[in-house]
């Protein structure tokens, strides 16, 4: 094979990969920028008719991201802590909950009773790959949620947390729709 042709092919591969990657990186950055886990959680809580409670911890403290809300059937407030899926969240969670709190971990369409780091990573990989061909219903961001309900609190209604990552919700918000999960304050 001709030397010039091989160099041309290599140069083409370099330029094509750079162009595609810049475009993909831009789309990913835009997606990450519009994803606000705290605001999305607050919107889902409000959609279920629950009242938000004020978080006594303020930014820049790590625990300022906790979203508190009150279920009418419970004596104390429940809380949701958004976190990165590679983080070990137990120490932080123990600082805002008492022993006996009922904990459930949510990430896209998965629910776990314990922090399942590997399952969440695989879940992320699955939707990140599906997202390339536009087949992911969820934003493949690496943020999961842990919900902690007080002891002796038996929620009458289970909250569906999937809208937190729902792409359609963000598309509606971007188009001026009413969902606005990415833009509502908590």
């Amino acid at each position: 094979m001709n030397r010039i042709a091989i160099r041309g092919l290599c140069l083409f591969a370099l330029l094509a990969s750079v162009a595609i990657r810049i475009q993909a990186n831009g789309a990913r950055e835009a997606m990450t920028a519009e994803f606000d886990a705290g605001a999305a959680v607050a919107a889902v809580v409000r959609d279920h008719g629950y009242q938000l409670r004020e978080n006594p911890v303020k930014p820049p403290m790590v625990l300022s991201v906790v979203v508190y809300f009150q279920r009418p059937e419970c004596a104390r407030a429940s809380l949701v802590l958004p976190y990165f899926i590679n983080a070990e969240i137990a120490p932080l969670l123990s600082r805002v909950t008492d022993p006996g709190f009922d904990r459930h971990f949510y990430y896209m369409d998965g629910v776990w009773d314990e922090q399942s780091r590997v399952s969440m990573f695989l879940q992320w990989a699955k939707y990140a790959v599906l997202d390339i061909v536009g087949a992911s219903p969820y934003l493949p961001v690496k943020k999961a949620l842990v919900l902690a309900d007080p002891k002796d609190c038996h929620p009458a209604v289970a909250i569906d947390w999937r809208p937190v990552w729902d792409k359609a919700r963000y598309r509606n918000a971007a188009n001026g729709g009413s969902a606005g999960a990415g833009h509502t304050g908590s």
Partner: protein, 276 residues
């Protein structure tokens, strides 16, 4: 290997590595604006870039006379195609996996060229930093954090017995509390130490010596101790936390760690230790 192309093997491999490194750079450097670019330069891992330089340097010194064979051309074509495809996946692991593939190609099919083998070793360490290290950390986060907390807790019990140590959290009497959740793990520093030792050793020579294991061990221990001291400072008080975690202290610690690990790597790769 039968030469079928008019291009040298060394040049073909340099093209592949250039494609890999440019694509990696786009994931690590902000290219959205000049401000993003400038900001990203301040937060770069310069050991990583030194390793990239070592890969290119060793490939550049490869044998210029050998022509690319059929296998080389097929491999280059496949890798270039995969690099273009990986562009659609804006995450490090895609390009990291391809770096691993190229590293093994260089390590196994180097045709006796020591420079290519050395480039393969450094590229393997780079790919470990990009993809295998994070996966390992993902699998063993609680265990690694507990080990870190054990060391920090031991130091604090001697220096500040009033700080209460519970699992991977530390509670000062004034209400200040610190928990290790991921980013503060020594594992990140250890993987950087290994990368620095491999990069510097392969910059200065093309073969491994038994003393390299000791150098890597010393660099890792130094990084673990410095990181433990750093976490002790975070736990000491809120003012210390603000300075050493979010303020100028973070940059001072980052630069100090980089310089120390590079000094150890340079010393370990020096001529005086080659016979050890």
């Amino acid at each position: 290997m039968v030469a079928v192309a008019g291009i040298g093997r060394r040049e073909l491999l340099l093209w592949i590595v250039a494609c890999l490194l440019v694509n990696q750079a786009l994931l690590l450097v902000g290219v959205g604006s000049y401000d993003a670019f400038a900001a990203s330069l301040l937060t770069q891992n310069y050991i990583y870039w030194l390793a990239c330089y070592a890969v290119v340097y060793r490939l550049y010194l490869g044998d210029r006379e050998i022509r690319a064979g059929r296998l080389d051309c097929a491999f280059a074509l496949a890798v270039c195609f995969l690099i273009v495809l990986s562009g659609f996946l804006p995450y490090r692991f895609g390009i990291g996996l391809l770096a691993t593939l190229v590293a093994f190609y260089l390590l196994i099919l180097n045709g006796g060229d020591r420079n290519l083998k050395a480039a393969g070793a450094v590229l393997l360490a780079v790919s470990a930093q990009l993809v295998w290290g994070p996966i390992f950390f993902q699998l063993f986060t609680p265990e690694l954090l507990r080990a870190d907390a054990g060391l920090v807790g031991t130091f604090l019990m001697a220096l500040r017995p009033d700080i209460i140590w519970e699992g991977t959290s530390f509670f000062a009497p004034d209400g200040h509390a610190v928990s290790l959740i991921a980013g503060c793990s020594s594992f990140n520093n250890v993987s950087a130490a290994v990368l620095a030792c491999v990069a510097v050793a392969m910059l200065r020579r093309t073969e491994w010596v038994p003393g390299d294991i000791a150098t890597i061990a010393i660099a890792c221990v130094a990084m673990i101790l410095i990181n433990s001291a750093r976490i002790c400072l975070f736990a000491w008080s809120l003012a210390f936390y603000d300075y050493w975690h979010d303020g100028e202290g973070a940059q001072i610690l980052g630069v100090s760690q980089t310089l120390i690990v590079l000094a150890i790597a340079w010393w370990g790769a020096g001529p005086s230790r080659r016979g050890s």
